[in-house]
Amino acid sequence: MKRRHIVRRSVAAAFVLTLAIGVTAGSGGAKGPQSTPASGGTLVFGASNDPRILDPALASDGESLRVSEQIYETLVTTAEGSTEVIPQLATEWSATEDGLAWTFELQQGVTFHDGEPFNAEAVCFNFDRWHNFSGPLQLNSGAYYWRVIFGGFAENDPESDAPETSLYESCDAVDDDTVILHLTAPSAAFLSGLVLAPFSIASPAALIEFDADSASLDPDGNPVPQGTFGTEHPVGTGPFKFDSWIRNDRLTLVRNDEYWGEPALLDEVIFRPIPDNAARLQALQTGEIDGYDLVDPLDVATIAGDSELQLIERPSFNVGYVAFTQTFAPLDNLDVRRAVAHALNRQAVIDNVYGDSGEVPLEFMPPSVQGWTDDVTIYEYDPDAARALLEGSGLELPIAIDFWYPSAVSRPYMPDPQRIAEAFASDLEQVGFDVNLQSAPWTPDYLDVTLSGGAAIHLLGQTGDFGDPETFVGTFFRTDSPQWGFDNPELRQALEDALRITDLDERTAAYEEINRTIMDFLPGVPFAHSTSKLAFRANIQGFVASPVSTEQFKTVSIGE
């Protein structure tokens, strides 16, 4: 009897230990014995498509950025498996008290693939290049991420619809190894933005020689770079060099033997476009490819059950939420909002709609972002408490309310809006609401009605652009928007202040406090963080998934 008890306890301990290892490893890492990784070999990665362009400053699609991550490097990057900012081409950095000037000390002895030196001038050349993008390159289909992080350009093209002001002012090359970036306003979020591949430092000589900046507009209004920089001559400082690209067939990178850091283990990485999910899985099973991203949730069981394959989970970087537009009474009543939070059986929705690719959030941002805390008010599923709150509010039951969802669309954080909405509507009806389900096509109708404040309760969400709380809570609540229909000056001010704090610890504390405030005020109920998975052959080691997809293949190796 006693013995069985001990066995059970040790099993439980082993389970907890496994979980802990899973968590500390960022759910990444390859399985199998961690023997010394064998050097060399070719990794074939199944991409969902060809990249659009290998000039990351003009790219915003995942496949372009994935390849760019290997060829280029940024001043700062993220620690493996998290959004913590760590050095890459910059060894250290500091900001002035007012947050307007950022000094970066640069890594020495780095050369671009074309043999040109990497130095402060090269850094300034790139920043000035982005800031001076003109004409079609300013469009969202061009320098999308510059617009997200820095806003406008030196001279905005009237047709670009770019933000009026720019965060960027100028760049000073103090000496070869020191750069100062001057900003027009304090923003701590910009550092997290700089980890993204679009802020890669490219070889100025190659940018000029291969005419990266002249673009024309095609008759349908899309920017088309005229040079060959982004198609045939991408030159960065990264662990892999561009070798060749046969469209719709293969894109080959080879190891950069002159790499300044620890060189890549693989000889070659080949990206092979396979748009169909089932085809990618079978190609992985036959060994025609060694890995692929965005595994179909339906295939997870197949892969998990195959000893020759492995799954790697990418930490969530999104949030789906139920929003309240408080201009619709009685949603301005906190008790009513809390009643909704207790009424929604979010775990059931996760289990039924997301499978094992989702979790119930505690707040409006995923755990991988700094400032996330579990010390917030948690709203357990409790229909009785919900009903009690409604009855205590003195309102006449049932309360009639519109509940909106987008029709015929699937978003990463909301794979099946209709099923989610129907489940939530039935939860709400059980505690005393009379729900009127409404739907509209995602764009433009649904976004119009929800963002302009025309939908009382509605489903929406956000996938983060960069590893900073600003991309979640800042985007939602820093300015008062008709979507939420409330004015909370303290919350707005707190977010405005936090944006300017350049000290990391202070900043983290500020956002933790903000998250507590938000979850007490309850402007909406976050219901899902969805995760995605990558699949690899079992002999592939050393791949670590990043929530913001800044993944380098230099640590990857092919085992026995």
Binding site: N140, D161, V224, R247, N248, D249, P275, A279, E288, T443
Partner: protein, 334 residues
């Protein structure tokens, strides 16, 4: 015959014009529109209007269409939004891929279908015929993607005999001139690439050729049966001509007429791209290209691709009609 061909080609012009206008109008009617696609889904209506003005998207449809026609006639099919490459360049890569796959599939279907049909006719209403009937029914009713997945699962995943995706192994080098890989590897004397290209063709060709195979088998069977009962065959038999000679000269040749019609129609269909087969085998042909363009609101590809597919249809149909007169000299075209 030449005059006939020329007249048919001239008649194709209004067809192409009509189709191009329909496609043009239809893409303009899709929700969102190019300006919206350009600015993103949260663009303000003012910005959308500004962009539409500057690209002439606010002008009457006929004016826009005229501009488009002008460009097409100079060989400019525009640029693909999703890949930022000229549509014509993509067409040069994708059409050969489709041609190679279609021809391989038709080779499989015709090479197997005609003998099977003849055998079934010779054994009409006996067990071999019934087997062939059931086989054809299964072939016609089996969804292509399902068959493809099963073929891949069996021959690529489980047995490991054949590759499951693409046209060449990523480690096979080939100098690409025509983008017909079989042709390219023969031209460059590259035996490795030739073998690799053939291995990659087998499964998709079988998957794609199964429906035409079933149809050709059935048509051949009934055509042969019909001809076998005709007077001239009975006369030939009465004259004591060797049965094999009768089959070849008197039966098969006459029976081939409807079969050729079917082969022509099927080839035209296959050449317009096989979305499912291409998708499952990551083949990169016309079908997936045009299909993906719908989702990506890639107007240039949609317009150029569909226009080209229609042209292919017209040409294949013409070839079939010309083919009649070769098989049956009694048919005079013109």
């Amino acid at each position: 015959m030449l005059r006939y061909a020329a007249r048919r080609l001239i008649l194709a012009i209004p067809v192409l014009l009509g189709v191009s206008f329909l496609v043009f109008a239809w893409t303009r009617a899709l929700p969102g529109g190019p300006a919206q696609a350009l600015l993103g889904e949260r663009a303000t209506p003012e910005a959308v209007a500004a962009v539409e003005r500057s690209y002439g998207l606010d002008r009457p449809l006929f004016v826009q269409y005229g501009k488009y026609l002008e460009r097409v006639l100079t060989g400019d099919l525009g640029l693909s939004v999703s890949t930022q490459r000229p549509v014509l360049d993509e067409l040069r890569e994708r059409f050969p891929a489709t041609v190679e796959l279609s021809l391989a599939a038709m080779l499989f279907a015709v090479g197997l279908g005609i003998p099977l049909g003849v055998i079934a006719a010779k054994h009409a209403r006996r067990s071999l015929d019934h087997v062939s009937l059931v086989g054809s029914l299964v072939g016609i009713s089996m969804p292509v993607f399902f068959l493809a997945l099963i073929l891949k699962w069996a021959f690529a995943v489980k047995l490991g005999w054949l590759p499951s995706i693409g046209r060449l192994d990523v480690r096979t080098d080939l100098h690409r001139r025509t983008n017909l890989f079989i042709v390219d590897s023969v031209i460059s004397g590259n035996g490795t690439a030739l073998w690799d290209a053939i291995r990659h063709l087998v499964l998709p060709a079988i998957a794609l050729g199964t429906i035409p195979l079933a149809i050709i088998t059935r048509i051949t069977r009934s055509a042969v049966l019909d001809v076998m009962q005709e007077d001239h065959v009975r006369t030939a038999r009465a004259k004591g001509i060797a049965p094999r000679l009768i089959d070849r000269r008197h039966v098969l040749r006459n029976a081939l007429l409807p079969v050729v019609t079917v082969i022509g129609l099927q080839t035209g269909l296959l050449l317009s791209g096989a979305i499912l087969t291409e998708t499952v085998f990551a083949w990169g042909g016309l079908g997936t290209w045009v299909y993906d363009a719908v989702g990506a609101r890639d107007y240039a590809v949609l317009q150029g691709g569909i226009l080209f597919v229609v042209l292919v249809f017209v040409v294949v149909n013409l070839l079939v009609d010309l083919g009649y007169s070769i098989i049956d000299p009694r048919i005079r075209v013109g």
